[in-house]
Symmetry: C2
Subunit: 414 residues, 2 copies
């Protein structure tokens, strides 16, 4: 029997125990896990140094090294994250609705854990801790498969978390790390339908596509965001400029940042120079279609390929559109179904945009950067779903649950 | 470009139109589709005769021929089914919740169609009509891929449905049938992520496993039911017998019928003879483990393989268990997460069973046969989900929807 099957079996067994743990028990475990994380600080930093050395010797980029690096503050941040989860309401056990049938059967929908959640992620070791905390609070056991770059850090973190878990009297197999970071084992994990209920990949587009292609376990697709801001004919230019600059330049590396700016042709001549100036002042390189080049002659020309691209960088492409209908058609064709915004003072166009744009989050007069579990008020987030099944948009605790029907009878037969 | 890609593109375009169609328009289309179905009755029956002839020449079983066969009554049944969908509440447009954030953003969760639904199914041509009706009511376009055995019947049915759809002014590509029933095209369909949002396989375990293995489009797994009835120590024997017989023998070919009977050892000596007699009177062959053979000596011995099996036939296997805990462990190990029942007068054991059994529907003192969209009060059903993502248990109209976040701002940036 492969080691992974043993991990799977143990995770499944642990999930049955976790599913009946009280909120008190789970919260107590979260606090103890936070404590053990702080206690193990030095070990974690030592392990992280090994990972950093290896990464440096491979010529890893500064940005990547920064993602990988742990320090006192970052470990405290992880511990505080676990304590924050304590404050969130436990969704498990809620009976969402219950009704009675003419034959007297009483049928209820009860919120229960998913069971075993698999997380496949890349370099950032804080995901290890965040995911473990959210899965525990929702009564799920978790199998973590982080990247090889962070394997020593991840081992040290999981060791501390498990210690806290055991002190709280919960099964230590509630959080397990796959230590073999080979591609073969990752693929085996994606097909472990018998034991894993859901797989959540967290990372770049390459990772997510690989999981979607290979997994037979149900997957929640997260991440890719080719987001648009559409500036309508009738709008507040100052607001339009501020929203565009914020959506693009406040943090270009994240999925809810805007990549494309669509401008109504009737106001393009007046609006475009202002917004391009502001974008450039914020370090953004602006590209544009033919029509926008006639207004701003020193911008790089876009190609067809640009419209589907997620730059994740200080780059924004501009397209002049005839009206809100062309904007909607363009977005539905090229967008990734993440976050889309209109800036308008037209009631009719705001409603049309809200109704017809096919995306997880559709905004009127606000920046796309708000698509985030904390900003939505969920307190925490395990990722942002860009698929339509199960969860769409920021996934908080509720999205880590499923329901079961509980039926009270008194001898009914059919 | 393959024909399937063209079908996919058209379905996606149609889905945008359907998503903004009013309930009135959709209901009107359902009525016109029902009318056209009756108008095309003779054509449908003629087409069905060709399918039946081909099937007979291939030596198809009587049971299969019966599933395939259409007659006046069955076509009227399909038309009535469409009219019944008119009466169901349209779930689209409901804003499930809406809240305001400290920064003034107003965030709502709105129920919207999934988009394009793919249905892969086998011989029964009525699925063509049922699926089309439920998808239309929920504003989804549908791509149907039925079995080759029913291709002529399916073509004739879809032709009639499309006629009704067009008369109602809705896009004719809302319902499309894939006429090439080759395995290659089915596999291509399972990977059409760009255009299909969800795939629902309806049919036997072989079909469902093939879809799970090959699909990259998100799948809702339906169907397999290895369901158990557990008879607790303290219970009403008459009720226990009636529930067991009903769950097994009222319709053994369906997924919510029971396959296994677990009996508490303290009452097995008294209860088993009665229930086995009743099962046999209803044509059921009873198998049993060693312990049950000591009570009923003329029953066939079970093997390990039996416990995971879905017989879908007049066969039931009996196992004697120590207590409710052993029953729960056995069910969680061998069950398929469909429907599970306990018969008991013990409050404590009823609660334990409801809480710890990991299945879509968990019953106290009622037959598993109630796991069904109509019996639950949903009015209709597209299948019974045995997975935990998105939908679990009978899937009604709501399960054919997703949500999108609609966000009203007044210039918020982050």
């Amino acid at each position: 029997m492969s080691e992974l099957i043993i991990i799977g079996q143990k995770a499944k067994e642990a999930s049955y125990e976790l599913s009946i743990a009280s909120t008190e028990q789970k919260d107590n475990a979260l606090i103890l896990m936070a404590e053990e994380l702080i206690n193990a600080k030095n070990d974690i930093i030592k392990a992280n140094e090994i990972d950093l050395e290896t990464a440096k010797s491979k010529g890893t980029s500064e940005a990547m090294l920064d993602r990988l690096a742990l320090c006192d503050d970052r470990i405290k941040g992880m511990a505080d994250g676990l304590k924050d989860v304590v404050k969130l309401q436990d969704p498990i056990g809620e009976v969402i609705s219950m009704w009675q049938r003419p034959n007297g059967l009483q049928i209820g929908q009860k919120r229960v854990p998913l069971g075993v959640i698999g997380i496949i992620y890349e370099a950032r070791p804080n995901v290890t801790c965040d995911a473990a905390g959210l899965c525990l609070k929702t009564g799920n056991s978790v199998i973590l498969r982080g990247g090889s770059e962070a394997i020593n850090s991840n081992k040290a973190i999981v060791k501390a978390l498990v210690k806290g878990m055991e002190k709280a009297g919960l099964p230590k197999e509630s959080v397990q790390l796959i230590e073999d970071t080979s591609r073969e084992v990752a693929t085996e994990m994606m097909r472990l339908n018998e034991f894993i209920d859901v797989l959540i990949p967290r990372g770049g587009a390459g990772l997510i596509q690989a999981v979607l292609k290979n997994a037979t376990v149900p997957v929640i697709e997260t991440g890719t965001g080719n987001c648009h801001i559409y500036i309508d004919e009738n709008c507040d230019f100052e607001m339009a400029k501020d929203i565009t600059v914020n959506a693009k330049a406040s943090r270009p590396s994240v999925c809810n940042s805007a990549e494309k700016l669509l401008v109504n042709e009737k106001i393009a001549g007046e609006f475009l120079p202002t917004v391009v100036k502001a974008l450039r002042e914020n370090g953004v390189a602006v590209k544009g279609d033919d029509a926008s080049q006639t207004i701003i002659n020193d911008i790089e020309k876009t190609s067809e390929e640009d419209w589907g691209k997620e730059y994740l960088d200080y780059v924004m492409a501009v397209k002049i559109v005839k009206d809100v209908d062309e904007a909607i058609t363009h977005i539905n064709k090229y967008g990734t179904g993440h976050s889309e915004a209109i800036v308008t003072e037209s009631y009719k166009n705001s409603q049309k945009f809200l109704q017809r744009v096919d995306a997880a989050a559709v905004y009127v007069n606000a920046s796309t950067r708000f698509t985030d579990g904390s900003e939505f008020g969920f307190g925490a987030e395990i990722g942002i779903s860009t698929q339509k099944l199960h969860a769409r948009g920021p996934m908080g605790l509720k999205e880590l649950t499923t329901i079961k029907y509980i039926i009270y009878g008194n001898g009914q037969i059919r």
